[in-house]
């Protein structure tokens, strides 16, 4: 397995092409980072504006390697018991009830208290063993025999304390469970963390990761993405659409359109059988990639100018 995985990571070009086959166009920078992440066995922290394909990157790697992806969505208040592991309290309780008679027979009525305790000690901590442990995403990722891609999504949404839990997993690929001991990874998972920069992450976390910033793509790259994701679209429409979106991104608006929204727009235009952008067409479909009333107004004001500029793009 390991060998097969290594084969997929022989060179950066190889990775780029492999990703393309599963429908993800990547810049050289991103491919280099994935390459290093595999060879250095380091987690990758991906930052960048919303909708540039940060989460998609993890899914792509999983698809490329043919491995399962385990996802941990972070939110405020996420804690150990939801991310690492939890004891199955209900099961423990049920079993103690069921085994009550068994325990009675085990412990003789004539025994002193100390003797009873000693007898019980002869048995292991049955109730705190693997059978009663509910693994949550982080622990589950360590247990996968063939390795896995672990996606820790929007880590900035979780509390500062949660980052501290992550540190052990990220640097040593292990989890300490007080009742059982330290659990090491069977096969080290490839870890991708994403962040939308709603707060600064701690130095300690950053130090343990490779840091990748994915910006909005260059026009050429975005055209390529559209071509791969919406292959039926005529190439000159794709060029116009990308140039339009790129111009809108430079405007002073609340939420700039992301790549996923560009793709949506391309699909809509395809359904409408458009072959070039016209101000009317854009006005009717504007809400697909602009989500705020004020933003729509700003863009509409310059609609003619923008479409004219876009029409010149090839």
């Amino acid at each position: 397995m390991k060998q097969k995985k290594d084969e997929k990571f022989t060179s950066i070009r190889h990775i780029q092409e492999g990703f393309k086959k599963v429908g993800y166009i990547t810049s050289r920078q991103t491919a280099t980072t994935v390459y290093l992440a595999h060879h250095l066995e380091k987690p990758v922290l991906v930052e960048g504006p919303a909708g540039v394909g940060k989460t998609e990157l993890a899914k792509t790697i999983a698809a490329y390697l043919g491995l399962p992806m385990i996802r941990l969505q972070c939110y405020e208040g996420l804690d150990e018991s939801k991310a690492l592991y939890e004891w199955k309290y209900g099961k423990q309780l049920l079993y103690t009830q069921l085994l009550r008679d068994k325990l009675d027979s085990l412990v003789d009525r004539e025994d002193t208290f100390a003797q009873s305790i000693n007898k019980l000690h002869a048995y292991d901590d049955i109730f705190f063993s693997w059978h009663f442990l509910e693994p949550r995403p982080l622990l589950k990722a360590l247990q996968q025999k063939d390795g896995t891609v672990l996606l820790i999504d929007e880590v900035d949404k979780a509390d500062g304390e949660f980052e501290a839990f992550l540190l052990e997993v990220l640097s040593d690929f292990q989890v300490s469970i007080p009742e059982i001991g330290t659990v090491h990874a069977v096969t080290k998972p490839l870890v991708i963390l994403t962040s939308n920069n709603t707060r600064d992450l701690s130095e300690a976390l950053k130090r343990r990761c490779l840091h990748l910033f994915i910006p909005f793509p260059e026009p050429a790259l975005e055209r390529e993405i559209i071509r791969v994701r919406v292959p039926e679209i005529p190439s000159n429409l794709a060029a116009q659409l990308v140039s339009f979106i790129q111009a809108v991104r430079k405007m002073d608006i609340k939420k700039v359109p992301s790549i996923s929204e560009t793709i949506d727009w391309a699909r809509v235009l395809l359904i409408l059988h458009a072959d070039s952008l016209s101000p009317e067409l854009v006005r009717d479909t504007l809400h697909i990639f602009i989500k705020y009333e004020e933003d729509i107004r700003v863009v509409e004001d310059q609609l003619h100018q923008l479409t004219a500029n876009a029409a010149r793009a090839f």
Binding site: L36, H39, L40, L93, G160, L212
Partner: protein, 444 residues
């Protein structure tokens, strides 16, 4: 570790990129994987291993381009010989110059620079010294001796060679100088910034020149960031002794209802609640500017601020900060745009009365009141009674005075009359003072 990488990391550190040992080890391993062959690949690899924020990435790009630049000695030396002259008996450096061996010269220069510890260069004034030392190590004296010998030999051909060598010599000197200059920029940038920062932190804000405003904002942002990091953590110290019954029952279900694991009640630390009242008359306005920048940096995270400004009367400006980005808000406040405040003579009498009538209920026993002003009241009624009232209601009354202590109470200053009602009274006219005050607000 690779010597070149080591130097590069030192350069990055000096330029303000924080790199830990483990990160430099990552970089070294990445380097082993990708090698030096492909410049772009090398840059991409080190980029993800070393630079970890947008700002650091920018610095990294800049440093990388400068550090790995090899365009010295790129122009060929003047009047390169058409026919091969004999280079026998010449020193190494002379031979390289004569044959125009560019890579050789660059390597030679870099080696010499390293031997002379060029990376220690800090100041403009050290430039010629370092250039001289590097030239010396590269064998300038040997070159000079060659030239002298050739002239003395007297033959016309050797005189021509000597003349060519002399030109090559100035070419060499020029290149070394520009190299040293480049390295000075690379190595000293951050130190200089740090020097300026130290200076700005301690300078009296009223003497600050306009051109430093921008830098000041950067420094304040960094201070705010640090305070945020220190204090924004939810601190929940356990208060032992008070049993949290509900929590205990819930946690001990697993033990069949036996209370093995008691849970205690916790207290959350509340955000400090601050009422800031600032004088915006000319005498204090600059300080107010930075003070507000500071407070509002902390506003959302760890402090709740209501702010008021006054000159001849009092007006609330909390809303302005919610409407506009902070810099614009501060500018608006200072100009008094759209704010019902009269910018005439400072009047503490009217101000305090205004506050008492309209806003006294904002002050509770949890509130810290921050007064920022020089207490120069233009001989009006000082209204000490009102200040006393505020002082009794609030948790703490802090007065910050931009004047130095000996001036308090002189002329129309009412500072000494107000002093008894202030829990804390401080002179405050530099950034460092400000930081200390804000820090004391955050401490319990």
């Amino acid at each position: 570790m690779d010597r070149v990488l080591e130097d590069f990391i030192t350069t990055l550190r000096r330029s303000g990129v924080r790199i830990s040992v483990s990160e430099s080890l990552d970089a070294a391993r990445a380097l082993q994987l990708v090698g030096y062959d492909d410049r772009n690949l090398l840059k991409d690899s080190l980029y993800v291993a070393l630079a970890k924020s947008a700002q650091e990435k920018e610095i990294f790009s800049d440093c990388f381009d400068r550090f790995f630049s090899f365009d010295f000695f790129s122009e060929p030396p003047p009047n390169e010989s058409s026919h091969k002259e004999s280079t026998e008996g010449l020193s190494d450096i002379s031979r390289m110059l004569m044959t125009g061996d560019q890579p050789g010269l660059v390597t030679y220069m870099k080696e010499a620079a390293r031997a002379e510890n060029l990376s220690d260069i800090r100041y403009q004034t050290q430039k010629s010294l370092y250039a001289m030392r590097i030239l010396e190590r590269m064998g300038l004296s040997g070159l000079d001796a060659n030239i002298r010998d050739l002239y003395q030999a007297g033959a016309p051909s050797s005189a021509a060679t000597a003349a060519r060598l002399e030109e090559a010599r100035s070419y060499l000197v020029e290149n070394v100088r520009s190299y040293v200059e480049e390295q000075l920029l690379l190595f000293s940038g951050y130190e200089y910034d740090k020097m300026i920062e130290d200076y700005l932190r301690n300078i009296k804000l009223s003497n600050l020149e306009q051109r430093y405003y921008h830098q000041m904002q950067g420094i304040i942002q960094r201070m705010v960031k640090r305070l945020n990091d220190l204090y924004s953590r939810k601190r929940k110290p356990a208060r032992r002794g008070h049993l949290d019954f509900k929590q205990t029952i819930r946690d001990n279900v697993a033990y069949q209802g036996f209370l093995f694991n008691p849970r205690w009640k916790k207290v959350k630390i509340e955000k400090p609640n601050v009422v800031a009242i600032c004088d915006i008359s000319r005498s204090v306005s600059r300080l107010v500017r930075f003070f507000l920048l500071f407070l509002y940096g902390l506003n959302k995270e760890i402090i709740q601020v209501r702010s008021f400004i006054f000159c001849s009367n009092l007006a609330e400006v909390t809303g302005i900060f919610e409407q506009y980005p902070i810099e614009e808000a501060v500018a608006r406040i200072q100009a008094g745009t759209d704010i019902p405040v009269l910018l005439a003579r400072t009047d503490y009498d009217r101000t305090l009365r205004d506050f008492k009538e309209r806003y006294l209920d904002t002050v509770t026993h949890k509130t810290t009141v921050l007064f920022l002003g020089d207490a120069r009241n233009n001989y009006n009624n000082p209204q000490t009674q009102t200040l006393k009232l505020i002082s009794e209601r609030c948790k703490k009354l802090i007065w910050l005075n931009p004047e130095t202590k000996p001036f308090w109470g002189t002329g129309d200053s009412e500072m000494l009359r107000y002093a008894p009602y202030c829990h804390v009274l401080k002179e405050c006219n530099t950034l460092n003072h400000l930081e200390r005050v804000v820090q004391s607000l955050l401490k319990r």
